[in-house]
């Protein structure tokens, strides 16, 4: 199993590193966009997939990263500085949004987060002096490290890839710690979790804050990719798009966001050949996918892994245990 996984990662790395060298403009853009969406999907998967906290505010947090970069970089702040500011703001507001999550659940929480998204959108649209209002901000520069500029599409792709690797690694680190298990316990049985000592307050706040922080990273990388942002990029539609990615990919599974981001971003593009019909086919695909794979595309992934390794897959296998004592030893 280990062998296959390492092989898979190596192959993936090769594809991600070398493929862009042969891609031209639009396809390169799509690849970059998919990576950005992957980062956002990973964030939402943490909040919703692992911790079970529904959030329709993800696009709002994304906007913090995007606007931070768009506003600060022209003022002379290095890109990474703008990104950090955006992420910190997203993290803090994520904490704020976590508080209602302590009081309400499920559809109520959906509404509160939806409300937050709308509020952010309205503020972005009306605070013209800061955000340019409906006109947005254009000419967003890409990062540079002194003489090294990530201006070209290809160079910027690699920059985004670098951040993606950081996000994936950090998310893996967090989710495979006791925090990850605590998040899952909240999703699976919140009451029982509290009774075994899980501080719902701490973990729910963290779930929101960290998920939002990742959204901030994604937003910051998004802005220079399009070089132009306006409030319309951060509406409810966008939050729903991420929701789709996470659910269709596979909630609460580490592979989920990868599958979801790829499918939701690239499937419509693949279907573009059918011209006007592509959205119809895509929406049909969404419905069919939910009917036949309600747990997400990970179902196919699991099936493939099973076939390849002829072993049963458990979501988070504990390490192989040593031989236990034959008699119970007290306490």
């Amino acid at each position: 199993m280990r062998g296959w996984r390492t092989l898979g990662i190596l192959v993936g790395a090769v594809v991600l590193l070398l493929f862009p060298l042969v891609l031209e403009q639009y396809k390169l853009y799509l690849a970059s966009l998919t990576l950005v969406y992957l980062i956002l999907a990973i964030g939402l998967n943490l909040t919703l997939g692992y911790a079970g906290q529904i959030s329709l505010a993800h696009a709002g947090f994304m906007s913090f990263g995007a606007y931070a970069v768009a506003i600060l970089v022209p003022l002379g702040v290095p890109f990474e500085g703008g990104l950090v500011v955006g992420v910190v703001i997203a993290f803090l507001w994520g904490l704020v949004l976590g508080f209602p999550a302590l009081k309400v659940k499920h559809h109520y929480l959906a509404m509160v987060t939806l409300g937050f998204n709308i509020i952010v959108f309205l503020v972005l649209r009306n605070w013209e002096s800061l955000t340019g209002g409906s006109f947005g901000i254009s000419g967003i520069a890409r990062p540079r490290w002194g003489p090294v500029r990530f201006q070209s599409d290809r160079a910027y792709y690699y920059y985004i890839l670098g951040w993606t690797v950081l996000v994936v690694a950090s998310a893996h680190w967090i989710l495979h710690s006791r925090w990850g298990r605590a998040f899952r316990s909240i999703r699976e049985n919140e009451m029982r979790a509290e009774v075994v000592g899980v501080s719902l307050r701490n973990y729910k706040l963290m779930a929101f804050a960290i998920g939002s922080a990742y959204a901030g990273v994604g937003g910051a990388l998004f802005a220079p990719l399009l070089t132009y942002i306006d409030p319309g990029a951060f509406t409810l539609d966008r939050s729903i798009q991420f929701l789709m990615m996470v659910v269709m990919g596979g909630l609460g599974r580490f592979e989920g966001p990868f599958l979801g981001a790829v499918v939701v971003t690239l499937l419509p593009e693949l279907l573009r050949a059918s011209e006007g019909f592509y959205l119809i086919i895509f929406s049909l695909a969404v419905i069919l996918m939910m009917l036949f794979m309600p747990k997400g595309l990970v179902e196919i992934w699991d099936w493939m892994v099973r076939k390849l390794t002829a072993q049963r897959l458990d979501p988070a296998r504990p390490p192989a245990p040593p031989e236990p004592a034959a008699v119970l030893e007290p306490k």
Partner: protein, 245 residues
């Protein structure tokens, strides 16, 4: 000083009085039985003690500390663990993960739980428990895929994992076959002999009478009797509560 003291505990749901001025105490090392007909408030009592419900009145003291208003996770940190009448597990986690989950929040800070990766001590304990409870064969199965009896054992195991001082068992024998009942009774007696304190809600009179040295009887939210099994057995009020007029 009693290990745990419940003073005049009351709980109302809108106009329904589920618990009314119930007082009882638990001595260290005891095996206390809590019985009463359905709806008498036994589980509500457990819920109030463990912070799942907020009492409407009264006080709960544990080792001298007032724990009445504490949240469930804070109560857990004080050393009280419990099982549930309707089994509450983490269905998509394996048996071992469920047990690890029962232990992980007991120690350390929030941050240390992120940074510290070593779980050998907890895993050792979990494996020993799994062995003790006879669950070794299913240790990597998802909790949702276990049989009812196995789930009950897992629930029991989770209550033992954090090395608690007081264990509240809510109908541990419900729906369990006679062989398993014997096994559970033996486990409880073993552990009690080692110093764990138990309060057990049960409907199975045989079990209660043989297991517990002292019994409290609730009926319609009030305590109506308290004493040894023999005393309870002969108490007409208890008969009345169960079979009623």
């Amino acid at each position: 000083m009693s290990f745990m003291e419940i003073r005049q505990l009351s709980k109302n749901f809108y106009h329904l009085s589920a618990l009314s001025l119930v007082s009882l105490s638990v001595e260290p090392g005891e095996l206390l039985g809590l019985i009463g007909p359905n709806g008498s408030g036994k589980t509500t009592l457990f819920n109030c003690v463990t912070g799942v419900l907020r009492p409407s009145g009264g006080q709960v003291r544990f080792k001298g500390e007032d724990i009445t208003k504490l949240s469930a996770d804070a109560v857990y940190h004080r050393g009280i663990s419990r099982t549930f009448q309707l089994i509450q597990l983490f269905p998509e986690m394996t048996v071992l993960e469920n047990l690890l989950m029962a232990a992980q929040e007991r120690q350390g800070t929030l941050l240390s739980r992120l940074l510290r990766r070593d779980e050998t001590a907890e895993m050792d304990r979990a494996l020993k428990l799994v062995d003790y409870l006879g669950l070794f064969g299913v240790k990597d199965n998802l909790a949702a895929n276990l049989s009812y009896g196995q789930q009950k054992l897992l629930d029991f195991g989770m209550a033992l994992m954090p090395n608690p001082q007081l264990i509240l068992l809510d109908e541990p024998m419900a729906g369990v076959n006679p062989t398993m009942i014997k096994a559970l009774v033996t486990h409880i007696q073993d552990l009690n002999a080692q110093g764990y304190t138990f309060v057990v809600i049960e409907h199975n009179m045989e079990v209660v009478m043989s297991l517990c040295r002292r019994i409290v009887v609730l009926s319609q939210g009030e305590k109506i009797a308290e004493g040894t099994p023999a005393e309870i057995h002969d108490n007409p009020a208890v008969m009345d509560a169960y079979f009623g007029t």
